[in-house]
Symmetry: D2
């Protein structure tokens, strides 16, 4: 086999069209898989040796050649050839250069169809493990910041209207909960990644006496796939990963939306250090929260990766079709975007500086304790729906008077309901309101601290 | 409260605009949740009674009222009012009609925000359980058909070109594997559905001494949510369901693509009974495989539901925003589409009639045993890559001669490699080829039957 | 033909499966097309009469029957039958009931394939015309509001940070420009809707001597389609409409995002009348901007409709496949969502009350005139990039001093650049800043008014 | 300004975080715009010179510097710096190195916000023009192939079931019609690309006396944008392009689906030369239609780009936000994918070899002339719906007899309807069937040739 001879050229009578060669080649992006491709080949060679399809000496030669190739690629000394189509044939072709005809035996009992499926699974498993490490770091950052702010009062919003006072720590723990679910989804997805397709060959298995369980063990998979047709055509795990990544990015876009809002001058709830912001080419005063804006913007690309991979698989007959070559770039993009966004957030979260005074002041506006007043009336025997109505009218009156609820006199308040007493003013304070929501999931500082403690315990940190 | 008085009207000085009332109301679609809304209210009332927020008598009255309302709706005797916005307020308003002021106490310590989240989770959990039942039925149908066809030979395709002979049973077991992963994903998704948001109230929890664990137990949830802000704004479980449903529909679209192909006259691999087909308004001869076509077409709508829900949540600040009202219709659509597609397939699969002769004949064309010939050469010592090259040239020669491989004479074959002997013809048979792929995941009938047996054992069937 | 006899039943030996009948029927949603279905049938009948395929009397009978059916449906007196599959066969079957065997001649020379394509085009053309009317009304509302606010100063934001002062009128005219492009896209899309498929029959045309141009004229199409295969399978116009609608909804979601922000207490730039807001079931003080939130939320469903229709068509071989039945529901949904959102905005925009004082005050913060200071330096000979640097340092100093730029003394300013003179303070005013951007597209009130005048002239209003 | 000094550094007190610098930089991908960035800067400099903001000498220096930079980049001699964030600041910084302080004047009266919008529009306009050229080439290829095959008979399919005989030329002209609409959409999209944003500066316009119309003329735009806020935030044209590209790719995926089907052995309607196919690493006989499969697969990525850009813009407040940096990569990807797919098809289409005998034989099966028989009955006075029923029963009988329609004897035929005469057999031939569909849009060879002639005339070819 000459260097650029197509590995399947025997049946063909004319050379590949030059544009077609470029158009159909994947080596420009799948070379990224080289480590996993070689790792899989090592396990395959070892297995071929064990069952006697190749000799121990042949196996040794192949392993030495593969090690050499790995080093050449690591050192950027490898001559990638587009004409050899993909990472697999580039590696195999170099192997034959290095070890001669023995190298031509490596592909016994396998196909690129099961080989690439194995490569992607090894790659994605490693990436998911790293992403899981990052989620742990991000969780810890959130817990630290939440703990510092367990008693810091801010307005809780619904409809971006002040709803009820909450603590900033409680708000951050809402973010934590999102991330906790993301982590669970990633771990569930990992189970379905961690299955060995190798041994499925082109689509039907192989006539050689392979031992798939040996390969399972060497590569650390949970088990071998159960159906060869399915194995070479299954890309569920890529779509599931993209869906999981999309939900994570959606969460990060929500956090980012809030960070951008809170950095905006009318809110001014937080500040970010200069090192996380950039300026403007024209407006000298600008300090822009680029990092959260960019994360919010990157959400779309991961949604796009998900759309792309779902569309890709829709309606494909079994087993492998060339369409599937298009699975890798969206996957790589989703992995990279998620990893970078996590890295950015792991740096950014601890740097958030809460402007606690602005937060508190904002909570004093907007009648945030109106529900507390209604609850007060309920405790005195008014049915909730009536209490709601009474307080609604009270708020309408206060707006007219341009006062907050706790600025109304007892006389003004009793005009709306006679049962209101002096003790109502304790209920109308922010601290009282927050402290009173003291059950699991509630915003009371004690509950926030308890939630942090439970979370730390679960993290083992 | 008059019937159509807005439950939040106290603070407002003008009536809602008539179009806005229609535009913002959700009762036209969320009334579908009534059973779960009432189920949640019963549990809430019971808890309010247990902790003493309402008396035992009040609780009884409320329960009686709710039972009456459930019956009225079941019997289509309920007067749904658009002006009351949603299912929650329609039910509550009717309750007050039925039991008087006591009914106004039901909303104590909760909000529509946590109420609707609870309703959707109860609804979706029930639907997922039913979908899981359907997947079991569909799996059994696949196993039965696979078992009948464990030895039926057909061409396995890659690139829609004949690749290697496989068995139809093996092909059907590839479908089974897809469905097995779908089931796992549904079960994983269910874990994240099965969490109680009630008690989160508007966003911060409540000042009343509620017992969330009692509600958890009564409604059969695994646990209460840990953060009230997150609980009222979390729609992850809807998106995750839509993603899971999208992958399932993608699988069904692949099966459908194959069914349509196999029904097409040039393939003619299968037939479907008349009762699963429809005709044409103009062409009297037509018998169209409408059911698989329609399933393939419905794939897009579930992808659309996923896009819709992901887009919905992107960039929303905490906690609840009105945007979220748009979560229900795509969810309902995904649930209904998936359920109907499953129902259709559960009926269709057992009715598939394999045209085994056509399948077999097709496998004899296309040089499907070329890999077997290469493997044969490898066993005689030729490195695989060289064997591939030799067989490639042999195939090119056979095409010229307009012969299949097993129609070449030994003389013709040995012209390509001297080591080929009379025993090669056994290798070139379809039955020999299939039987030789005899390892886990391989297409040999023994392996197919073993896979079926493992699957039946796992299903407990 | 008995009432429920399938119109294609001749070739079939068993009845359609009951579930399959429901699953494959479209009458539950395509009945919405009845007006256009009958309109198309009238034109077809007239043409059959003109060319002599049916007699004048037969034509009259058919027209009378169709008129009767239209009235029955209008009056909700029509008995829709699921077993007759779709709107087309329900109408035809009733026609045969009404006029006897003559009715069986109506389908001569056509198929449901070209009939449904014609129906949808007639439907969508009418809907687009109505949407275009709505965009005109919305444009006029924007122009009126922009005119009232042509001199109202507010901060212009980039990155949600105050960037430069602008006028509210200028901001509203940015919305106008978006809508102008939307209108152009709708009109371009309409060109591709307005083509007649009828005459394509099943896929190949018909053997009858039809006159397609007569039908073109009667139905007001621009021309007849040029290829029968393409005509029955083309759904581009649906996708293009969904894409156009998606961009419109994206615009409305941006407007809505701003309305929600501006309604939020920290901004308080605008107020909306009570009639456009709703309250909370638990929090008596809430007045929520539900309408813009809901529009923002509805964006996702139109994106979903686009995803759905693109996915639907992907990879379908020619010509018609049953998949295409799934084209209607996403189209209807996109049309309805867009129309309702336009209706809501046409009502809402004129009701926006600008809190001009809050807008102005916000513009005084955030160093919004820093660019003006840099421009001032440039006019005195400093290269822009140096001027930017100097002002950047000045802003850093002002932040330290907790002052705005116009609160710095001339002495403080000249410390950063000696060339600054007393005239700088005119440059640092908001009114001066705004007035100075006086070129086409700029924010100066004169430019805003000129833009409004050009727009009114183009609208002919 | 030192080389890597941030152009906005004046106001900042700490250096950008190292990861943030990488995360937020765009130069790795926006450098692709350098030609258009420099083109825009030249026009801007010329305008600054004309209106006297810079002197003629300064203008000359800047132009010389920009020319030098263009050459450096062309020659790959340019030192791109990530720390300078983007293409704009890399060019400007190098300009200052080359021409000194004069270079710092280039950014007068503009911002990166309007600069990048101008760059992308110049880029995309050029790409669209090239794509339009490609569509012309592809149209011509289709017309040539259609002309060669104007009389070649094949089965037309609906539901992938033989429906009626058509000509292969007619089928190819259906593809032509799709492409014709694509071209119209591209041209419509180009109108909305071809608008100049420059002069909008950051968001509000500029205080300098710029002449936007001069820039419009120099850069060949149709007009200047009418609102500065809108101009810097508008990305509609990107989304519209992605939508247009998505529909094109959807078309190409349909063509590809058919090419793959037709290449499949059971169909064997066409062959593709070896140079457009590739083989298998394991199966020596394989010749795979990789090019159409890959085009079909690439459809998903363009759908993904559309999802990505729609999501990106959803809910962004005005004016520019950093999110928008994410607009370029999906656009580049859509442009590249579309261009490569067009290139592939322009090469592939002329190389298609029709297996006319297989096509003809396939058309003889499947009762493709059943409609002709029904039409025959109609002409003898039978109402169409009854004729359909009669022929349906005839087909059912023929299936039982395992005969095609034209293999039935006249006696057998008249058993179903007495009016059938000897002349029926002419109607049942493929050639007769095809020739009879002789109206605009019909499949008769005369009509196909007429359609080709009209198309050539419109193309001017």
């Amino acid at each position: 086999m000459t260097q650029d001879h197509k590995p399947w050229g025997g049946r063909f009578s004319e050379a590949t069209d030059a544009f077609v060669e470029t158009f159909t080649a994947s080596v420009s992006f799948d070379r990224r898989l080289y480590h996993y491709d070689i790792q899989g080949s090592i396990a395959h060679a070892n297995m071929l040796g064990t069952v006697g399809i190749i000799t121990a000496d042949e196996c040794s030669s192949i392993l030495a050649g593969l090690a050499q190739i790995h080093k050449e690629i690591d050192d950027d000394q490898f001559n990638w050839r587009l004409s050899l189509e993909d990472v697999h044939m580039n590696v195999e072709s170099r192997l034959v250069e290095l070890v001669g005809d023995i190298g031509k035996k490596l592909h016994t009992g396998r196909s690129r169809n099961d080989q690439v499926a194995t490569d992607i699974r090894l790659f994605l498993r490693a990436e998911v493990d790293e992403l899981l490490n990052q989620t742990t770091a991000l969780k810890e950052a959130l817990l630290d910041l939440a703990e510092q702010n367990a008693e810091v009062i801010m307005p809780g919003f619904t409809h971006l209207q002040a709803a009820q006072p909450i603590t900033f720590g409680h708000h951050l723990m809402a973010w934590f909960e999102m991330l906790k679910r993301d982590t669970e989804r990633l771990a569930d997805c990992r189970k379905r990644i961690n299955v060995l397709p190798l041994g499925s060959a082109a689509l039907a298995g192989t006539t050689f006496p392979i031992d798939r369980n040996q390969v399972v063990k060497e590569l650390g998979f949970a088990n071998a796939s159960e159906n060869s047709l399915d194995s070479v055509s299954d890309r569920d795990f890529i779509i599931e990963f993209c869906a999981t990544a999309s939900i994570m990015m959606m969460h990060f876009s929500r956090w980012s939306e809030e960070l951008v809002l809170w950095m905006s001058e009318p809110f001014a709830f937080i500040d970010l250090p200069d090192r996380f912001c950039t300026g403007s080419s024209i407006m000298p005063q600008k300090k822009n929260p680029d990092v959260p804006e960019l994360i919010r913007g990157k959400t779309g690309r991961v949604f796009g990766d998900l759309t792309s991979t779902l569309t890709l698989m829709k309606g494909q007959p079994l087993a492998y079709n060339k369409d599937n070559q298009e699975d890798k770039e969206p996957l790589f993009d989703a992995v990279d975007t998620l990893r970078d966004s996590l890295t950015a957030l792991i740096g950014l979260i601890p740097a958030i500086e809460a402007n606690t005074k602005n937060m508190y002041n904002a909570a004093t506006r907007g009648f945030a304790t109106a529900t507390d007043l209604a609850d007060y009336l309920v405790r005195s025997g008014v049915p909730f729906r009536d209490a709601h109505e009474i307080v609604g009218r009270t708020v309408a009156y206060a707006i007219e008077q341009n006062k907050q609820l706790d600025e109304l006199s007892l006389e003004e308040l009793t005009a709306f309901h006679q049962g209101i007493g002096e003790d109502v003013f304790a209920v109308l304070t922010l601290d009282g309101s927050v402290a009173a929501r003291n059950h699991i999931g509630g915003t009371a500082p004690d509950q926030v601290r308890a939630a942090i403690a439970r979370a730390r315990s679960a993290l083992g940190s």
